[in-house]
């Protein structure tokens, strides 16, 4: 695992306030998640789906030297990057599926595992992504929490820990963001 020290280093750099390092992390995590998902999905029985949460955790174990005692918030930074990466992967996937529904791709060889509601689900995800982008523009911290909760599957407490905020704050962020996104989507 050649990329492992890189990610650990990058996380450490982010911890030290290196903003460029945060930018370098995202593509690395993104690649790793894709690769991991690909490998897992090809091995698993078809129809078996992958929980993004599990995927992110596994990527973390693979990318970050967990044996090293970490006093800094490497995990939080990693999950933040992973949440964004996961979001992009899912959105990309939903977009592609939409284009396929319009009869776009003759080379398609993928299997369809979803039922009748797949189209709605893809639409929902794309609308949510749009609303999330708006939320991000106005309340970036709250959007981060949503991403950690929704795309990494962290609990409010875990997300609070990753974001270094109190659980109560996280709860408030969450309540507001949920209401706000819901109102955006039902407008």
């Amino acid at each position: 695992m050649g990329s492992m020290p890189d990610v650990t280093l990058i996380l450490s750099a982010i911890e030290n306030g290196d903003l460029a390092a945060a930018e370098a992390l995202l593509p690395l995590v993104y690649q790793e998640l894709r690769k991991l998902a690909a490998a897992k999905l090809s091995k698993e029985k078809p129809g078996q789906t992958l929980q993004p949460t599990m995927l992110v955790h596994e990527a973390y174990v693979r990318l970050v030297d967990v044996n090293q005692p970490q006093e800094w918030n490497g995990r939080g930074h990693f999950f933040a990057a992973a949440a964004e990466a996961m979001r992009r992967i899912l959105v990309e996937n939903a977009r592609r599926k939409q284009s396929l529904k319009r009869g776009g791709d003759l080379h398609r060889v993928a299997l369809e595992t979803t039922g009748g509601g797949a189209k709605d689900r893809n639409d929902d995800l794309l609308s949510l992504d749009e609303a999330l982008t708006q939320l991000e523009a106005r309340w970036p911290e709250k959007a981060r929490l949503v991403k950690l909760r929704y795309f990494v599957g962290l609990t409010v407490a875990e997300a609070a820990q990753a974001m270094k905020i109190s659980v109560a704050t996280a709860e408030r962020y969450w309540t507001f963001s949920r209401a706000w996104l819901h109102s955006q989507l039902t407008q």
Binding site: A38, L90, L125
Partner: protein, 622 residues
């Protein structure tokens, strides 16, 4: 981090903490003041909060195998795109369309998609699905033309699923590699080999392979004709007695021999021939199933030992994998099945009860066509005696018998079965312990069976001809009775005529004075006439025979006969006149002669006076 609308979130959260609607309204009045837009937004959020339910509480949708797709993406991505197209480099492969992709779904909207569906045949037999919910069923693929409906059977290497080709609207048997083997290249290779062997064996006696494909989960499959009907094994077991239906069953066996002969001609041996692997359809189709143990021989017909050595690993692996095809209970090594009728697990493959000694001894590499000939003989044995060659209480015993070629019980069973000696001899020939003593291949056997069946047919035909001849004779006899009656009638008439004739003669004789010579002349004439009359009578008789055959015309015919009779009577009269004329001439002659002698004068007078003017007037003088 300053937020553009700092109030909104805190206002909302503060409002949310106030439970009473009135107090909440008051709070909003106070805080928002004239900023109605803000107030409206807070209210909207409060409402959304109420309505949101479990919104976003569940993490993002799960990833499925389609999620990573991107055209021209990296290998890591390609790996998860199952399907045949990915098995090749896109630049090399000519992808006409994905195997198994529904063409009709693609055409939907462009044409009125036809949906012809023939009715099921009533005689198709029972539904073959055993397990509707099979672990081996791949996931539904909405673009696939195949609908999978359940599992029919399970073998060591693959499962046979029942499927439907929705494009062509037909049912299929789809053999798919077991999920547990999909990452074993040697098993995948062997599986594809089976598809290729089946695909190249094109004969009405072999269920055709339609397509080799790959499911989305990368498991290869091949689709085949779904053969409905009974197994030959069931047909044989359902008989009340082994002598029942023997001719028909030997006829089916001939089909099996022909099919195996074809396979042998293509250099393929089956290695697991038994009644359970033969399907007999409701409309006379006979098909040899399960070519999963089949082996390709070299051109010379000798087992390809070198190839076998080269693929030793794969061979032994497959041998251990191959087990009781068609059964739901995968056997284990050492457990040879209750009666040795199931395909064997372990280094020995096949079914002991029908297995030649060399196969039972594990000489799998040296097997040739004659191993199949033994299997065919074993099937024939079951046809004739109701049981396979080797029978024992348990599979181990059966297997032991098979290894030692213990056939004495089988042979005595054959001797007592009451079948044709010829057929028994063929069976024993096939079951020879020494391969070199058996018929060389299935073709030789087929010829013998065909010859046997032909001889049976000839025998049948001969006896049939005899029966027909007998029937004809009986019919003729019936005809004869009618004819005799008719003839008797005609003869009675003829006799009457003769009586008439006799009367005429009597009349003539009574005329008297006729010399012996004259009377002889007259007699001979009369005889001729009588013959004529008889000929006429014969005609009448024929007419009478016809009359007897055509009852409705009888009356008419009888009338004709009467007419004839009267004609004859007239003719007789005419003849009488002629005779009188001749008599006149003769007697005048006599008178002349008499005149020459003195004593005759009185006689002349008598004659001439007897021929008075009225008699002469009838122009008798000629």
């Amino acid at each position: 981090m300053k937020e553009p609308l700092p109030q909104l979130d805190s206002l909302f959260l503060a409002a949310l903490d106030i439970e009473s609607p009135e107090q909440r309204a008051t709070f909003l009045n106070e805080t928002c003041g004239t900023n109605l837009e803000l107030r409206h937004e807070v209210e909207r959020l409060l409402k959304s909060n109420e309505l949101s339910g479990s919104f976003l509480e569940q993490p993002a949708p799960e990833l499925d195998a389609t999620m990573m797709f991107r055209k021209g993406s990296l290998n890591g991505d390609v790996a998860i795109h199952a399907g045949p197209a990915t098995a090749f480099d896109q630049r090399q492969a000519v992808v006409i369309g994905r195997a198994g992709l529904s063409v009709l779904k693609n055409l939907e909207g462009t044409i009125n998609v036809p949906r012809i569906l023939l009715r099921d045949s009533i005689k198709d037999g029972p539904e073959p699905i055993l397990k509707p919910q099979s672990f081996e069923l791949p996931d539904r693929d909405s673009d696939s033309r195949y609908q999978l409906q359940g599992e029919i059977a399970r073998g060591g290497m693959g499962a046979i699923l029942k499927g439907r080709d929705t494009d062509l609207g037909r049912e299929l048997a789809i053999k798919v590699l077991l999920d547990s083997h999909k990452d074993k290249p040697d098993v995948v290779q062997r599986f594809i080999e089976e598809a290729q062997i089946g695909g190249q064996l094109q004969h009405p006696g072999i269920a055709p392979v339609y397509e080799l494909g790959q499911f989305a989960d990368r498991r290869p499959f091949f689709s085949m004709k779904l053969v409905k009907g009974e197994t030959f094994s069931k047909l044989l077991a359902d008989r009340a007695d082994p002598s029942v239906d023997r001719a028909k069953l030997v006829g089916i066996f001939e089909h099996v021999c022909q099919t195996v002969a074809y396979a042998h001609s293509r250099g393929v041996i089956h290695r697991d021939l038994k009644p359970a692997n033969i399907m007999v359809g409701a409309f006379g189709e006979v098909q040899v199933m399960d070519w999963g143990l089949a082996k390709v021989l070299l051109a010379g017909g000798v087992a390809d030992e070198k190839k076998a050595r080269n693929t030793q690993l794969a061979q032994s692996l497959i041998q251990t994998l191959r087990n009781n095809t068609g059964s739901d209970h995968p056997g284990t090594v050492g457990d040879l099945g209750s009666a040795g009728s199931q395909t064997q697990v372990g280094s020995v493959m096949g079914t002991p009860a029908y297995m030649p000694p060399e196969q039972a001894l594990g000489e799998t590499d040296h097997l040739d066509e004659r191993a199949d000939v033994f299997g065919l003989g074993a099937i024939l044995c079951e046809i004739l005696t109701g049981k396979p060659p080797y029978t024992a209480d348990n599979g181990t015993m059966v297997f032991r018998m098979a290894t030692r070629g213990k056939l004495s019980e089988c042979f005595s069973r054959l001797d007592q079965c009451g079948a044709d000696v010829e057929l028994i001899a063929i069976t024993k020939h096939c079951l020879a312990v020494e391969p070199s003593e058996r018929p060389r291949d299935a073709n030789v056997l087929t010829e013998r069976i065909t010859a046997y069946l032909a001889s049976v047919e000839t025998r049948l035909r001969v006896s049939e001809v005899e029966r027909a001849a007998e029937a004809a004779r009986a019919e003729e006899a019936l005809h004869t009775v009618a004819e005799t009656e008719a003839r008797a009638r005609a003869e009675r008439r003829a006799k009457r005529l003769q009586l008439i004739m006799a009367a005429v003669v009597l009349v003539l004789v009574s005329i008297g004075g006729v010399a012996a010579m004259r009377s002889a002349v007259v007699q001979s004439r009369l005889k001729d006439d009588a013959l004529n009359a008889e000929r006429v009578a014969e005609e009448a008789r024929e007419g009478a025979v016809k009359a007897a055959r055509r009852e409705q015309a009888l009356a008419q015919e009888a009338q004709d006969l009467q007419q004839r009779e009267s004609e004859l009577r007239q003719q007789a009269e005419v003849r009488e006149q002629t005779i009188q004329a001749m008599l006149y001439a003769a007697e005048m002659n006599l008178a002349g002669q008499a005149a020459d002698d003195v004593s005759g004068l009185r006689r002349v007078g008598q004659i001439t006076t007897s021929w008075g003017p009225e008699r002469v007037a009838r122009n008798l003088r000629g």
